[in-house]
């Protein structure tokens, strides 16, 4: 079975300024196994060559639908923002390794930490961990009030706390300060967001907590063949791990950032 498919765009709608929610339907949705895996989206026209990687945000198996949430960042995502329901997009995936749910034992509490556009893959994860019967706490950080999205959605499956850098919504400060302030207790953490946030999380919790983080890197093939997307493995010679293949989700201390 082919891992590329022309999927039907069911909806593409702006959630917050420059942030879009894109729902696609296709047979390959049934191959999507883990939260945190990603797809590679092909863009037609404008001389685009490389596919754009996006995390899977929600999987709706019965409807054969899945969702990504993306931020307009450059020409490719600008083009994607203009795609309308009824059009088709060629999707390659699912790719990569996602967040291991089984790392969380019965009765344990999971802390999900999302920074900005790193939030989407945590949504499918929150739903799954909640369905397993675990307690889930979500802490999301954004620049300002305008950038906040998915608070209500996350609250279906978890206890949600929001921080904004300018304090225009929720707590004023970053996610780590908020976690500290609330004195949140947890057994395992799952995080996705900017590199600086992930690095700070490693420093704060790397010694005494279990956890998983999701990385981003510029990609070409998306399947491990080109060595474009490498990152450093802790205690090994540099560039040994491929974000697209061994990742994008890694153990909290598995990679050096």
């Amino acid at each position: 079975m082919k891992l590329t498919e022309d999927m039907l765009v069911i909806k593409n709608q702006e959630l917050a300024p420059g942030i879009y929610e894109l729902v696609l339907r296709g047979e390959n949705v049934r191959l999507m196994k883990e939260a945190g895996q990603f797809v590679n989206v092909q863009l037609e026209g404008k001389g685009f060559i490389l596919r754009r990687p996006f995390s899977i945000c929600e999987i709706n198996s019965p409807e054969k639908e899945f969702k990504i949430i993306f931020r307009v960042q450059g020409e490719g995502t600008e083009h994607l923002a203009g795609i309308e329901a009824g059009e088709r997009l060629n999707i390659f995936g699912p790719l990569g390794k996602g967040f291991p749910e089984s790392a969380l034992a019965e009765g344990e509490t999971a802390l999900l930490i999302g920074g900005g556009i790193g939030t989407p893959p945590l949504y499918e994860l929150a739903r799954r961990l909640h369905d397993r019967g675990n307690r889930v706490i979500t802490v999301l950080g954004f620049q300002d009030r305008d950038g906040v999205f998915y608070e209500e959605e996350f609250s279906r499956y978890s206890e949600v706390h929001i921080a904004t850098m300018d304090g225009s919504y929720g707590y004023k400060g970053n996610v780590l300060e908020l976690i500290e302030d609330l004195g949140l207790d947890f057994d395992i953490l799952y995080a996705c967001g900017p590199m600086a946030m992930l690095k700070a999380i490693q420093e704060a919790y790397g010694k005494d907590k279990r956890g998983y983080i999701s990385l981003e890197e510029r990609m070409a093939c998306g399947i491990g063949a080109c060595y474009g997307c490498v990152c450093d493995k802790e205690g090994d010679s540099p560039y040994q791990k491929r974000v697209c293949k061994e990742g994008p989700v890694f153990g909290l201390n598995e990679v050096s950032i």
């Binding site: 060559i49 510029r218 080109c226």
Partner: protein, 303 residues
């Protein structure tokens, strides 16, 4: 029946479609997508004597109609490749071309000698055209005398057919091609990537951590066609042509220019199934243009 077969030194190909070096790893990842036995051959990632860690990231940037890469020849070293990668390739009915790189003539010779000792390796491809390393690489491919010396030394030691992969970053590619022909090369691969650069408008810095990178993809196709066309007229070696091929029509254009087989690189990133799709479409495209075999189309532009 359209005949897609083609025989080249060391390579009995069922069809002329060969994934290009560095774009296909050692085949493992693509084997999860389709049966590699469909391919004409495969060219594996460049091998050096010692493991190479490669360049810092970002290693990839996009540009209109192409990409820039600066991987920096990351590879686990020839010994690991022989012990861990090549045995896996034995399960396929597939000629394997080993891409060889190095800092010195001695390194090329030693890596070639070791790889040629492996049963699955049917030919060597000397990468004297990598623009992404400080030493060696392209430096060997831009001077005719150096290229010739390297070719002759490897030929002496290897005992398997040697294809020399030419750099387009030269003023006269025919000169280099002639020099390696005289030095005993069995074939040519062309072209490698063109040296390029992109700047980030916000930071004012280069997008690639390495600064420069190699340009590949559809943007370089006319350069590849021109160079193959020129070399075909002057040199009597079979050419594996590559540079921006995306579909079976592009393949036909390369055959017309003088290529006997083709390498597919960047297109694998756009459509991971592109190689089997080109193989599927090629008979139709040949028939449409009145050809019954690959052989008939080779060098057609020169008749």
């Amino acid at each position: 029946m359209i005949d897609l077969r083609i025989d080249l030194p060391g390579l009995k190909l069922k069809n002329p479609v060969i994934p290009a070096s560095g774009c296909f790893g050692f085949g493992e990842e693509f084997a999860e997508l389709y049966d590699l036995n469909q391919l004409g051959a495969i060219t594996i990632k460049a091998a050096t004597l010692e493991p190479r860690i490669g360049n810092p990231t970002p290693r990839i940037a996009e540009t209109y109609g192409g990409i820039l890469n600066a991987i920096g020849l990351q590879n686990p070293g020839v010994e690991v490749i022989i012990k861990e990668k090549l045995p896996w390739l034995e399960q396929f009915d597939l000629p394997v071309i080993a891409n060889v790189a190095g800092d010195t003539v001695d390194e090329y010779v030693e890596v070639s000698r070791r790889l040629a000792g492996s049963e699955v390796i049917k030919a060597l491809e000397l990468n004297i055209s990598c623009p992404n390393v400080q030493k060696g690489g392209m430096a060997f491919g831009t001077d005719p005398d150096t290229a010739a010396e390297l070719t002759a030394e490897v030929k002496k030691a290897a005992g398997k057919p040697v294809y020399v992969k030419l750099s387009p970053n030269v003023t006269d590619i025919v000169k280099i091609a002639r020099a390696v022909e005289e030095a005993g090369a069995d074939g040519l691969s062309m072209i490698n990537t063109l040296l390029g650069m992109r700047l980030d408008l916000r930071s004012g810095k280069t997008v690639l951590a390495n600064g420069t990178g190699g340009l590949s993809g559809p943007a370089i196709k006319p350069v590849a066609i021109r160079m193959i066309y020129q070399v075909y007229r002057e040199v009597n070696l079979p050419i594996i042509g590559m540079g921006g091929i995306q579909d079976a029509r592009d393949v036909l254009e390369f055959l017309y220019a003088g290529a006997s087989a083709v390498g597919i690189g960047t297109a694998n990133f756009i459509n991971p199934y592109v190689c089997p799709e080109i193989i599927r479409d090629l008979p139709g495209v040949l028939a449409e243009h009145g050809f019954n075999s690959i052989q008939e189309a080779i060098g057609y532009a020169h008749r």
